[in-house]
């Protein structure tokens, strides 16, 4: 009896992996927007921070701390340096108008960088926004049991993971960079200085956090909890450890990039002899290498993990 030929793989000639991958990128990007509650809360936090910054700017608070220190020696000096006050002329006469302007700008940028950029933005908003969207990339599908539809398609798992990461970037980078720009804009001149100086640190930290938290989404059943434990417990504890221990935290390298950029501008955010920073170039290399390493690790983990609970 003659043998019938093997059933031909009918789908193969008309399909393209690259096309499927790109469609998954678009689909994942669109589906991130469906998490409306999350997007609204993120925007709400941004609005709240921007509003507080704008209020501080309107009250000219960025200049106050530095001059309060000066006022310990001479209260009149504080009065003199409040812009528009009659004593401004005295200060101008004492330090020279240009000198006062430079001192004022640097002081304001320093205060803004330390108390808003480092403490609130890099310390809270950036990790939170990154973890919210990044843990949802894979974790959201796991939570909603919809991962099965992706894994049933003929896309290799590393490609699925990579597509999720690429789709995630517009959200995390957009929110972090856009949010940073908005908060800086609300702070006026010191904010614009901070934006110019620190955007690379924000971008690199965003990429590294996004890669880390997406990996957590692939590896853990409750990635958001693990990520929040990492961000607000380990990052803070490790990031404030004395000596070189803090170098295992992502925030440390972002902070180092900030320190160097600030230093070039003549601003000192932290004391180098206490903080023991690495130079900016090393920090960039570490953050980018970390991003790529975490991304590859995530692809491997996602390729090997059996998602019993989601399929």
């Amino acid at each position: 009896m003659a043998l019938i030929q093997q059933p031909r793989p009918t789908a193969a000639p008309q399909t393209s992996l690259l096309r499927a991958w790109w469609f998954l990128v678009l689909l994942s990007w669109r589906r991130q927007a469906r998490a409306r509650q999350m997007v609204w809360i993120a925007l709400g936090l941004l609005a709240f921070t921007t509003a507080m910054t704008a209020v501080a700017t309107a009250a000219d608070l960025w200049h106050r701390p530095r001059f309060r220190q000066l006022a310990v020696a001479d209260q009149m000096m504080l009065d003199a340096l409040v812009p528009g006050s009659p004593a401004q002329a005295v200060a101008d006469a004492t330090f020279g108008a240009a000198g006062v302007a430079v001192l004022t700008d640097q002081s304001a940028a320093q205060v803004f960088a330390r108390w808003v950029v480092a403490a609130i933005f890099l310390g809270f908003l950036l990790p939170l926004w990154s973890l919210s969207f990044a843990t949802e990339a894979i974790g959201g599908d796991r939570e909603q049991n919809s991962l099965i539809w992706l894994l049933a398609r003929p896309l290799p798992r590393p490609m699925v993971y990579l597509a999720k990461f690429v789709a995630l970037l517009p959200w995390t980078v957009g929110l972090n960079m856009g949010g940073f720009a908005l908060v800086c804009a609300a702070a006026g001149r010191p904010g614009l200085t901070a934006l110019r100086l620190f955007w690379p640190a924000v971008l690199c930290a965003t990429l590294a956090f996004a890669a880390l938290f997406q990996l957590m989404g692939a590896a853990f059943r409750r990635p958001a909890i693990v990520a929040i434990g990492y961000s607000f417990f380990l990052e803070i504890i490790l990031g404030n450890m004395p000596g070189v221990m803090k170098r295992v935290s992502i925030g440390f390298y972002a902070h180092c990039m900030m320190l160097e950029a600030a230093d070039r501008h003549g601003i000192q955010i932290d004391r180098p002899n206490v903080y023991w920073p690495v130079d900016g170039t090393t920090a960039i290399i570490v953050l980018l290498t970390t991003t790529v390493t975490l991304l590859v690790m995530g692809m491997v983990v996602f390729s090997r993990t059996q998602y019993h609970d989601s399929v």
């Binding site: 793989p9 499927a20 398609r153 399929v311």
Partner: protein
């Protein structure tokens, strides 16, 4: 080669299965279900090949040493909840990996993306991208398979038509009934025209008219040379679809073959049953174990009765080991005997797990 190459012996558990399978040089259970073209059964590579596959979930074994070979046609997979049907289907569709053994689809490892081109999976999971309409969902699945936009639309229209959803596909998935959701799941499984269709409880939640349509559709697919593995809790339901079933129990394939053949095999194969009975009535009296043993020996299907030693601390319970043929008639006789003679049976256990499972189904109960 006969259409049914092997039938598992119910009495021998997996060993029995292996014994039967050993007739085939590859040592596998071959089933080729309902197909009008017998030549398809002679394909050099089976569509699905599971070789001694085992899967553990921690200390629990989900699938135990399953060997299965499928060629075009429909094969039913029956078993009770927790028997391992869904795990086996996940292994076949490459969603989980076997701890031991190998699963191949058309010669490719089922875990690989290449194998998924040839698999259509209708899962039991009932989660979709709920914000989408049925049509959008199917089209999305088509795009994720790598089709162009036009081709995806064309295929979407075709499969929706085929599952009877073309007029109702514009509504959001979250508003669909269970039956409509089943149709959409089936549509996405057929979308890329796969050689192997793995359908996990596809008839559940479908009304009788829909069931008839589905059964007709499955038969058409089988006639086109597709290989279908369809799971169900209900043997009667599968019998309408195919005469070839695999019975799963406790992670093992307990039997493979036609329902009639499995029944015959069971009838021919002596069954060992343990019966624990109260030795005395409340008023005291004779040793009722011996009474029961005598009564059992008078039954036509009982081959032998063995009196077992008493368990320590349970001297009031007498234990018997009964070997019987024709399980169905034996159990009917036993029931009648117990009720008429008023034996207080404390325990009744079939000592062969596979046979118990198969019996459970054939007698209309659980495995």
């Amino acid at each position: 080669m006969s259409e049914l190459s092997s039938i598992a012996a119910a009495g021998g558990g997996n060993r029995g299965v292996e014994k039967e399978f050993s007739r085939d040089p590859k040592g596998s259970a071959k089933t080729s279900g309902r197909s009008r073209d017998p030549a398809r059964q002679l394909l050099p590579t089976p569509v699905l090949l599971c070789q001694r596959v085992s899967k553990w979930y921690g200390p629990v074994i989900g699938v135990n040493q399953v060997t299965l070979e499928l060629r075009p046609g429909i094969t039913g997979l029956v078993g009770s909840n927790g028997a391992g049907k869904s795990t086996l289907m996940r292994l076949i569709t490459g969603h989980v990996r076997p701890d031991i053994g190998r699963v191949e689809v058309l010669g490719r490892d089922a875990w690989s993306a290449a194998a998924k081109r040839h698999i259509g999976y209708c899962p039991e999971v009932d989660s979709f991208y709920e914000e989408m309409s049925g049509r959008q969902f199917i089209e999305t699945m088509a795009r994720l398979s790598g089709y162009t936009s036009g081709e995806a639309r064309r295929r979407t229209g075709a499969v929706l038509e085929r599952v009877g959803m073309s007029g109702r596909a514009e509504r959001r998935l979250r508003g669909y009934s269970k039956g409509m959701r089943q149709r959409i799941k089936l549509a996405q499984a057929m979308l890329h025209d796969p050689e192997l269709l793995v359908l996990d409880e596809p008839l559940s939640g479908i009304d009788p008219v829909g069931r008839a349509e589905f059964i007709s559709l499955f038969r058409d697919l089988a006639d086109q040379g597709k290989c279908l593995l369809v799971s169900s809790h209900e043997l009667d339901e599968l019998q309408k679809l195919t005469d070839h079933v695999a019975v799963m129990a406790r992670g093992r394939i307990a039997a493979v073959g036609s329902v009639a053949q499995i029944r015959d095999r069971l009838d021919d194969h002596p069954l060992t049953v343990r019966v624990d009975v109260a030795r005395t009535t409340e008023e005291g009296g004779k040793d009722r174990r011996r009474e029961l043993a005598g009564a059992l020996l008078r039954l036509p299907d009982v081959v032998g009765v063995e009196l077992l030693d008493d368990a320590p601390g349970e001297e009031d319970v007498g234990r018997l080991l009964v070997r019987a043929r024709n399980p169905r008639t034996f159990f009917q006789d036993l029931t009648r005997l117990v009720l008429e003679e008023w034996f207080e049976v404390r325990r009744l256990q079939t000592l062969d797990e596979s046979a118990e499972a198969v019996l459970g189904y054939l007698l209309g109960g659980r495995g």
